[in-house]
Symmetry: C2
Subunit: 207 residues, 2 copies
Protein backbone atom coordinates (compact mmCIF):
# COMPACT_ATOMS: atom_id res chain seq x y z
CA UNK A 1 0.00 0.00 0.00
CA UNK A 2 1.23 3.47 -0.88
CA UNK A 3 2.16 5.01 2.48
CA UNK A 4 3.38 8.61 2.77
CA UNK A 5 4.67 8.91 6.33
CA UNK A 6 2.12 11.56 7.36
CA UNK A 7 -0.69 9.11 6.54
CA UNK A 8 0.76 6.17 8.50
CA UNK A 9 -1.40 5.18 11.49
CA UNK A 10 1.15 4.41 14.17
CA UNK A 11 -1.00 4.29 17.33
CA UNK A 12 -1.60 0.63 18.30
CA UNK A 13 -4.87 1.57 20.05
CA UNK A 14 -6.19 3.24 16.91
CA UNK A 15 -5.31 0.18 14.82
CA UNK A 16 -6.93 -2.19 17.32
CA UNK A 17 -9.96 0.10 17.55
CA UNK A 18 -10.47 0.06 13.76
CA UNK A 19 -10.35 -3.75 13.64
CA UNK A 20 -12.91 -3.88 16.46
CA UNK A 21 -15.21 -1.24 14.98
CA UNK A 22 -15.03 -2.60 11.39
CA UNK A 23 -14.52 -6.36 11.90
CA UNK A 24 -15.74 -7.53 8.47
CA UNK A 25 -12.40 -8.21 6.74
CA UNK A 26 -11.88 -8.81 3.05
CA UNK A 27 -9.56 -11.83 3.16
CA UNK A 28 -7.64 -12.09 -0.07
CA UNK A 29 -5.39 -14.87 -1.34
CA UNK A 30 -3.71 -15.74 -4.60
CA UNK A 31 -4.83 -19.22 -5.74
CA UNK A 32 -4.28 -21.32 -8.86
CA UNK A 33 -7.72 -20.00 -9.94
CA UNK A 34 -6.63 -16.38 -9.48
CA UNK A 35 -7.22 -13.84 -6.75
CA UNK A 36 -9.95 -14.87 -4.31
CA UNK A 37 -11.56 -12.61 -1.70
CA UNK A 38 -14.14 -13.42 0.96
CA UNK A 39 -15.75 -11.05 3.45
CA UNK A 40 -15.69 -12.48 6.96
CA UNK A 41 -16.02 -11.06 10.47
CA UNK A 42 -12.84 -11.74 12.41
CA UNK A 43 -11.31 -10.79 15.72
CA UNK A 44 -7.82 -10.45 17.09
CA UNK A 45 -6.30 -13.10 19.28
CA UNK A 46 -3.84 -10.91 21.16
CA UNK A 47 -1.20 -9.43 18.87
CA UNK A 48 -0.39 -12.72 17.19
CA UNK A 49 -3.40 -13.72 15.15
CA UNK A 50 -6.81 -13.08 13.66
CA UNK A 51 -9.47 -15.77 14.04
CA UNK A 52 -12.82 -16.44 12.37
CA UNK A 53 -14.81 -19.11 10.56
CA UNK A 54 -16.20 -19.87 7.11
CA UNK A 55 -19.00 -22.06 5.80
CA UNK A 56 -17.96 -25.63 5.07
CA UNK A 57 -19.50 -25.00 1.63
CA UNK A 58 -17.07 -22.11 1.06
CA UNK A 59 -14.32 -23.48 -1.22
CA UNK A 60 -11.84 -21.12 0.42
CA UNK A 61 -10.63 -23.76 2.90
CA UNK A 62 -10.12 -26.30 0.12
CA UNK A 63 -8.35 -24.13 -2.47
CA UNK A 64 -6.11 -22.25 -0.02
CA UNK A 65 -3.56 -24.63 1.51
CA UNK A 66 -2.58 -24.19 5.16
CA UNK A 67 0.26 -21.69 5.46
CA UNK A 68 -0.72 -19.64 2.40
CA UNK A 69 -0.05 -15.88 2.74
CA UNK A 70 -3.27 -13.87 2.87
CA UNK A 71 -4.11 -10.21 3.22
CA UNK A 72 -6.95 -9.22 5.57
CA UNK A 73 -8.21 -5.76 4.62
CA UNK A 74 -10.19 -3.82 7.23
CA UNK A 75 -11.97 -0.78 5.89
CA UNK A 76 -13.19 2.04 8.09
CA UNK A 77 -15.20 5.01 6.86
CA UNK A 78 -14.28 6.95 3.74
CA UNK A 79 -15.39 10.15 2.12
CA UNK A 80 -14.84 12.52 -0.78
CA UNK A 81 -13.00 15.76 0.00
CA UNK A 82 -13.93 18.70 -2.21
CA UNK A 83 -11.62 21.73 -2.53
CA UNK A 84 -14.72 23.71 -1.48
CA UNK A 85 -14.18 22.36 2.08
CA UNK A 86 -10.89 24.25 2.41
CA UNK A 87 -11.33 27.89 3.53
CA UNK A 88 -7.87 28.73 2.09
CA UNK A 89 -9.26 27.95 -1.36
CA UNK A 90 -10.55 31.51 -1.43
CA UNK A 91 -6.98 32.82 -1.02
CA UNK A 92 -5.01 30.86 -3.59
CA UNK A 93 -7.16 28.18 -5.29
CA UNK A 94 -4.21 25.78 -5.15
CA UNK A 95 -6.23 22.69 -4.15
CA UNK A 96 -7.54 19.57 -5.84
CA UNK A 97 -10.11 16.97 -4.73
CA UNK A 98 -9.05 13.90 -2.79
CA UNK A 99 -10.50 11.01 -0.82
CA UNK A 100 -10.02 10.36 2.89
CA UNK A 101 -10.24 6.92 4.50
CA UNK A 102 -8.96 4.63 7.23
CA UNK A 103 -7.74 1.09 6.46
CA UNK A 104 -5.77 -1.63 8.18
CA UNK A 105 -3.95 -4.30 6.16
CA UNK A 106 -3.02 -7.40 8.13
CA UNK A 107 -0.70 -9.83 6.35
CA UNK A 108 -0.37 -13.35 7.65
CA UNK A 109 -0.43 -17.08 7.00
CA UNK A 110 -3.81 -18.80 7.17
CA UNK A 111 -4.58 -22.23 8.59
CA UNK A 112 -7.96 -23.97 8.89
CA UNK A 113 -9.24 -25.93 11.89
CA UNK A 114 -11.88 -28.65 11.56
CA UNK A 115 -11.97 -29.82 15.17
CA UNK A 116 -15.00 -29.13 17.31
CA UNK A 117 -13.01 -27.42 20.06
CA UNK A 118 -11.48 -24.78 17.78
CA UNK A 119 -14.83 -24.12 16.12
CA UNK A 120 -16.70 -23.74 19.41
CA UNK A 121 -13.98 -21.43 20.74
CA UNK A 122 -14.10 -18.97 17.83
CA UNK A 123 -17.89 -19.01 17.46
CA UNK A 124 -18.22 -18.47 21.21
CA UNK A 125 -15.83 -15.53 21.27
CA UNK A 126 -17.31 -13.81 18.21
CA UNK A 127 -20.85 -14.28 19.50
CA UNK A 128 -20.05 -13.00 22.98
CA UNK A 129 -18.27 -9.97 21.60
CA UNK A 130 -20.92 -8.86 19.09
CA UNK A 131 -23.93 -9.79 21.22
CA UNK A 132 -22.61 -7.89 24.21
CA UNK A 133 -21.97 -4.83 22.07
CA UNK A 134 -25.43 -4.89 20.48
CA UNK A 135 -27.66 -6.32 23.18
CA UNK A 136 -25.85 -5.89 26.51
CA UNK A 137 -27.62 -7.88 29.19
CA UNK A 138 -30.07 -9.25 26.61
CA UNK A 139 -27.21 -10.86 24.65
CA UNK A 140 -28.15 -14.00 22.74
CA UNK A 141 -26.09 -17.01 23.82
CA UNK A 142 -25.26 -20.23 21.99
CA UNK A 143 -26.99 -22.10 24.86
CA UNK A 144 -30.27 -20.41 23.83
CA UNK A 145 -30.44 -22.66 20.75
CA UNK A 146 -31.36 -26.37 20.91
CA UNK A 147 -28.31 -28.60 21.23
CA UNK A 148 -28.97 -30.67 18.08
CA UNK A 149 -29.40 -27.48 16.06
CA UNK A 150 -26.11 -25.97 17.31
CA UNK A 151 -24.27 -29.21 16.58
CA UNK A 152 -25.60 -29.13 13.03
CA UNK A 153 -24.52 -25.51 12.63
CA UNK A 154 -21.02 -26.22 13.98
CA UNK A 155 -20.69 -29.17 11.60
CA UNK A 156 -21.38 -26.74 8.72
CA UNK A 157 -18.42 -24.40 9.43
CA UNK A 158 -14.62 -24.45 9.46
CA UNK A 159 -12.53 -22.27 11.80
CA UNK A 160 -9.48 -20.38 10.60
CA UNK A 161 -6.53 -18.59 12.09
CA UNK A 162 -4.27 -16.03 10.43
CA UNK A 163 -0.86 -15.83 12.10
CA UNK A 164 0.13 -12.21 11.66
CA UNK A 165 3.37 -11.40 9.84
CA UNK A 166 2.80 -7.67 9.35
CA UNK A 167 0.37 -4.82 9.80
CA UNK A 168 0.14 -1.64 7.72
CA UNK A 169 -2.44 0.92 8.81
CA UNK A 170 -3.24 4.09 6.89
CA UNK A 171 -5.29 7.05 8.06
CA UNK A 172 -5.58 9.42 5.11
CA UNK A 173 -7.17 12.27 7.05
CA UNK A 174 -5.95 15.64 5.76
CA UNK A 175 -2.86 15.60 8.03
CA UNK A 176 -1.04 17.47 5.24
CA UNK A 177 -3.50 20.40 5.32
CA UNK A 178 -3.46 23.71 7.18
CA UNK A 179 -5.41 23.70 10.47
CA UNK A 180 -8.28 25.74 9.04
CA UNK A 181 -8.68 23.41 6.04
CA UNK A 182 -8.39 20.35 8.30
CA UNK A 183 -11.22 21.78 10.41
CA UNK A 184 -13.35 22.33 7.29
CA UNK A 185 -13.06 18.64 6.41
CA UNK A 186 -13.88 17.57 10.00
CA UNK A 187 -17.08 19.67 9.92
CA UNK A 188 -18.15 18.16 6.61
CA UNK A 189 -17.50 14.59 7.77
CA UNK A 190 -19.42 15.17 11.01
CA UNK A 191 -22.36 16.56 9.00
CA UNK A 192 -22.26 13.53 6.68
CA UNK A 193 -22.37 11.02 9.55
CA UNK A 194 -18.71 10.05 9.08
CA UNK A 195 -18.29 10.21 12.84
CA UNK A 196 -15.39 7.77 13.23
CA UNK A 197 -13.19 9.71 10.80
CA UNK A 198 -14.26 13.05 12.29
CA UNK A 199 -13.39 11.84 15.81
CA UNK A 200 -9.97 10.55 14.69
CA UNK A 201 -9.25 13.89 13.00
CA UNK A 202 -10.22 15.76 16.16
CA UNK A 203 -7.78 13.61 18.15
CA UNK A 204 -5.11 14.58 15.62
CA UNK A 205 -5.89 18.27 16.16
CA UNK A 206 -5.70 17.88 19.94
CA UNK A 207 -2.49 15.83 19.87
CA UNK B 1 -16.06 -15.54 -3.45
CA UNK B 2 -18.45 -17.98 -1.80
CA UNK B 3 -21.75 -17.40 -3.59
CA UNK B 4 -24.91 -19.27 -2.60
CA UNK B 5 -27.39 -18.52 -5.39
CA UNK B 6 -29.87 -16.70 -3.12
CA UNK B 7 -27.13 -14.18 -2.24
CA UNK B 8 -26.08 -13.45 -5.83
CA UNK B 9 -26.86 -9.88 -6.91
CA UNK B 10 -28.10 -10.28 -10.46
CA UNK B 11 -29.64 -6.86 -11.17
CA UNK B 12 -27.24 -4.79 -13.33
CA UNK B 13 -28.70 -1.54 -11.97
CA UNK B 14 -28.04 -2.63 -8.39
CA UNK B 15 -24.45 -3.55 -9.24
CA UNK B 16 -23.88 -0.24 -11.06
CA UNK B 17 -25.53 1.63 -8.18
CA UNK B 18 -23.20 0.07 -5.60
CA UNK B 19 -20.10 1.01 -7.61
CA UNK B 20 -21.42 4.57 -7.88
CA UNK B 21 -22.41 4.87 -4.23
CA UNK B 22 -19.22 3.25 -2.86
CA UNK B 23 -16.57 4.18 -5.44
CA UNK B 24 -13.48 3.70 -3.26
CA UNK B 25 -12.24 0.32 -4.52
CA UNK B 26 -9.62 -1.87 -2.90
CA UNK B 27 -7.52 -2.78 -5.92
CA UNK B 28 -5.58 -5.96 -5.23
CA UNK B 29 -2.83 -7.61 -7.24
CA UNK B 30 -0.38 -10.42 -6.71
CA UNK B 31 3.18 -9.11 -7.17
CA UNK B 32 6.67 -10.58 -6.71
CA UNK B 33 6.60 -8.80 -3.31
CA UNK B 34 3.32 -10.48 -2.34
CA UNK B 35 -0.28 -9.29 -2.32
CA UNK B 36 -0.61 -5.53 -2.72
CA UNK B 37 -3.82 -3.52 -2.19
CA UNK B 38 -4.49 0.18 -2.71
CA UNK B 39 -7.68 2.10 -2.04
CA UNK B 40 -8.63 4.31 -4.96
CA UNK B 41 -11.81 6.01 -6.15
CA UNK B 42 -12.73 4.67 -9.57
CA UNK B 43 -15.59 4.91 -11.99
CA UNK B 44 -17.03 2.75 -14.74
CA UNK B 45 -16.36 3.47 -18.37
CA UNK B 46 -19.46 1.86 -19.83
CA UNK B 47 -19.56 -1.89 -19.18
CA UNK B 48 -16.03 -2.48 -20.39
CA UNK B 49 -13.70 -0.86 -17.89
CA UNK B 50 -12.99 0.90 -14.62
CA UNK B 51 -10.80 4.01 -14.68
CA UNK B 52 -8.95 6.00 -12.04
CA UNK B 53 -5.54 7.41 -11.15
CA UNK B 54 -2.75 6.93 -8.63
CA UNK B 55 0.04 9.10 -7.32
CA UNK B 56 3.23 8.94 -9.37
CA UNK B 57 4.92 8.16 -6.04
CA UNK B 58 2.70 5.08 -5.60
CA UNK B 59 4.87 2.09 -6.56
CA UNK B 60 1.78 0.27 -7.80
CA UNK B 61 2.29 1.40 -11.41
CA UNK B 62 5.92 0.26 -11.33
CA UNK B 63 5.55 -3.16 -9.68
CA UNK B 64 2.35 -4.21 -11.51
CA UNK B 65 3.11 -4.74 -15.22
CA UNK B 66 0.48 -3.73 -17.79
CA UNK B 67 -1.98 -6.58 -18.34
CA UNK B 68 -1.72 -7.99 -14.80
CA UNK B 69 -4.97 -9.45 -13.44
CA UNK B 70 -6.34 -7.39 -10.55
CA UNK B 71 -9.38 -7.60 -8.33
CA UNK B 72 -11.29 -4.37 -7.56
CA UNK B 73 -13.36 -4.86 -4.42
CA UNK B 74 -16.27 -2.46 -3.83
CA UNK B 75 -17.73 -2.63 -0.36
CA UNK B 76 -21.18 -1.33 0.51
CA UNK B 77 -22.61 -1.22 4.01
CA UNK B 78 -22.40 -4.17 6.39
CA UNK B 79 -23.91 -5.04 9.72
CA UNK B 80 -24.12 -7.70 12.41
CA UNK B 81 -27.36 -9.69 12.54
CA UNK B 82 -28.31 -10.95 15.99
CA UNK B 83 -30.78 -13.85 16.42
CA UNK B 84 -32.67 -11.41 18.66
CA UNK B 85 -33.75 -9.56 15.48
CA UNK B 86 -35.79 -12.57 14.30
CA UNK B 87 -39.33 -12.68 15.78
CA UNK B 88 -39.48 -16.45 15.06
CA UNK B 89 -36.67 -16.93 17.57
CA UNK B 90 -39.35 -16.96 20.26
CA UNK B 91 -41.00 -19.97 18.60
CA UNK B 92 -38.09 -22.33 17.96
CA UNK B 93 -34.75 -20.74 18.87
CA UNK B 94 -33.19 -22.32 15.76
CA UNK B 95 -31.12 -19.29 14.74
CA UNK B 96 -27.48 -18.23 14.90
CA UNK B 97 -25.81 -14.84 14.37
CA UNK B 98 -24.61 -13.80 10.94
CA UNK B 99 -23.32 -10.76 9.07
CA UNK B 100 -25.06 -9.00 6.17
CA UNK B 101 -23.24 -6.99 3.52
CA UNK B 102 -23.14 -5.90 -0.13
CA UNK B 103 -19.99 -6.26 -2.23
CA UNK B 104 -19.01 -6.14 -5.88
CA UNK B 105 -15.87 -7.87 -7.13
CA UNK B 106 -14.64 -6.69 -10.51
CA UNK B 107 -11.88 -8.77 -12.07
CA UNK B 108 -9.85 -7.34 -14.91
CA UNK B 109 -6.51 -6.55 -16.45
CA UNK B 110 -4.89 -3.26 -15.45
CA UNK B 111 -2.91 -0.90 -17.65
CA UNK B 112 -1.35 2.47 -16.77
CA UNK B 113 -1.42 5.64 -18.86
CA UNK B 114 1.21 8.36 -18.54
CA UNK B 115 0.02 10.67 -21.28
CA UNK B 116 -1.50 14.03 -20.44
CA UNK B 117 -4.70 13.38 -22.41
CA UNK B 118 -5.62 10.20 -20.51
CA UNK B 119 -4.82 11.82 -17.17
CA UNK B 120 -6.90 14.94 -17.88
CA UNK B 121 -9.80 12.78 -19.09
CA UNK B 122 -10.02 10.65 -15.96
CA UNK B 123 -9.40 13.49 -13.51
CA UNK B 124 -12.01 15.56 -15.31
CA UNK B 125 -14.65 12.82 -15.22
CA UNK B 126 -14.05 11.90 -11.56
CA UNK B 127 -14.09 15.55 -10.50
CA UNK B 128 -17.25 16.38 -12.43
CA UNK B 129 -19.03 13.34 -11.05
CA UNK B 130 -18.17 13.82 -7.37
CA UNK B 131 -18.39 17.62 -7.39
CA UNK B 132 -21.81 17.59 -9.00
CA UNK B 133 -23.05 15.07 -6.45
CA UNK B 134 -21.71 17.02 -3.48
CA UNK B 135 -21.94 20.62 -4.56
CA UNK B 136 -24.43 20.80 -7.44
CA UNK B 137 -24.25 24.21 -9.06
CA UNK B 138 -21.39 25.21 -6.75
CA UNK B 139 -19.24 22.36 -8.09
CA UNK B 140 -15.50 23.01 -8.03
CA UNK B 141 -13.94 22.79 -11.47
CA UNK B 142 -10.37 22.11 -12.54
CA UNK B 143 -10.39 25.51 -14.25
CA UNK B 144 -10.80 27.13 -10.80
CA UNK B 145 -7.16 26.29 -9.99
CA UNK B 146 -4.21 28.19 -11.51
CA UNK B 147 -2.92 26.57 -14.68
CA UNK B 148 0.65 26.04 -13.47
CA UNK B 149 -0.66 24.39 -10.30
CA UNK B 150 -2.92 21.97 -12.19
CA UNK B 151 -0.08 21.08 -14.55
CA UNK B 152 2.09 20.23 -11.56
CA UNK B 153 -0.68 18.12 -10.04
CA UNK B 154 -1.26 16.25 -13.31
CA UNK B 155 2.47 15.57 -13.60
CA UNK B 156 2.29 13.89 -10.17
CA UNK B 157 -0.27 11.24 -11.14
CA UNK B 158 -0.64 8.23 -13.42
CA UNK B 159 -3.97 7.16 -14.93
CA UNK B 160 -5.08 3.54 -15.01
CA UNK B 161 -7.70 1.45 -16.74
CA UNK B 162 -8.99 -1.98 -15.71
CA UNK B 163 -10.47 -3.88 -18.65
CA UNK B 164 -13.20 -5.95 -17.06
CA UNK B 165 -13.09 -9.73 -17.44
CA UNK B 166 -15.73 -10.63 -14.85
CA UNK B 167 -18.05 -9.26 -12.17
CA UNK B 168 -19.33 -11.10 -9.09
CA UNK B 169 -21.77 -9.21 -6.88
CA UNK B 170 -23.08 -10.50 -3.57
CA UNK B 171 -25.94 -9.10 -1.51
CA UNK B 172 -26.06 -11.11 1.71
CA UNK B 173 -29.33 -9.63 2.95
CA UNK B 174 -31.38 -12.28 4.79
CA UNK B 175 -32.99 -13.53 1.55
CA UNK B 176 -33.02 -17.00 3.15
CA UNK B 177 -35.18 -15.84 6.11
CA UNK B 178 -38.92 -15.84 6.70
CA UNK B 179 -40.67 -12.56 5.85
CA UNK B 180 -41.18 -11.59 9.49
CA UNK B 181 -37.50 -12.19 10.32
CA UNK B 182 -36.39 -10.35 7.16
CA UNK B 183 -38.52 -7.39 8.31
CA UNK B 184 -36.89 -7.49 11.76
CA UNK B 185 -33.45 -7.10 10.18
CA UNK B 186 -34.64 -4.25 7.92
CA UNK B 187 -35.95 -2.35 10.97
CA UNK B 188 -32.68 -2.79 12.83
CA UNK B 189 -30.58 -1.68 9.85
CA UNK B 190 -32.77 1.39 9.32
CA UNK B 191 -32.40 2.28 13.01
CA UNK B 192 -28.61 1.87 12.78
CA UNK B 193 -28.30 4.18 9.77
CA UNK B 194 -27.61 1.30 7.38
CA UNK B 195 -30.00 2.89 4.93
CA UNK B 196 -28.57 1.49 1.70
CA UNK B 197 -28.90 -2.11 2.88
CA UNK B 198 -32.34 -1.45 4.37
CA UNK B 199 -33.54 0.06 1.06
CA UNK B 200 -32.19 -2.88 -0.96
CA UNK B 201 -33.93 -5.32 1.40
CA UNK B 202 -37.20 -3.42 1.03
CA UNK B 203 -36.90 -3.67 -2.77
CA UNK B 204 -36.44 -7.45 -2.27
CA UNK B 205 -39.65 -7.60 -0.22
CA UNK B 206 -41.59 -5.65 -2.83
CA UNK B 207 -40.26 -7.66 -5.78
Amino acid sequence: MYMPEHFRETHPDEVAGLIEAFPLAAIVAQTPAGLVANHLPVMREGDAALVGHVALNNDMHRIIPDGTPVLAIFRGQDGYVSPNLYPTKQDHHRHVPTWNYQVVHVAGAITFQHDDKAKRAVVGRLTRDHETRMNGDAAWRMADAPRDYMEGMLAAIVAFRIDITGIAAKAKLSQNREAVDHAGVVSSFAARGLDVMAARMRRDSDG
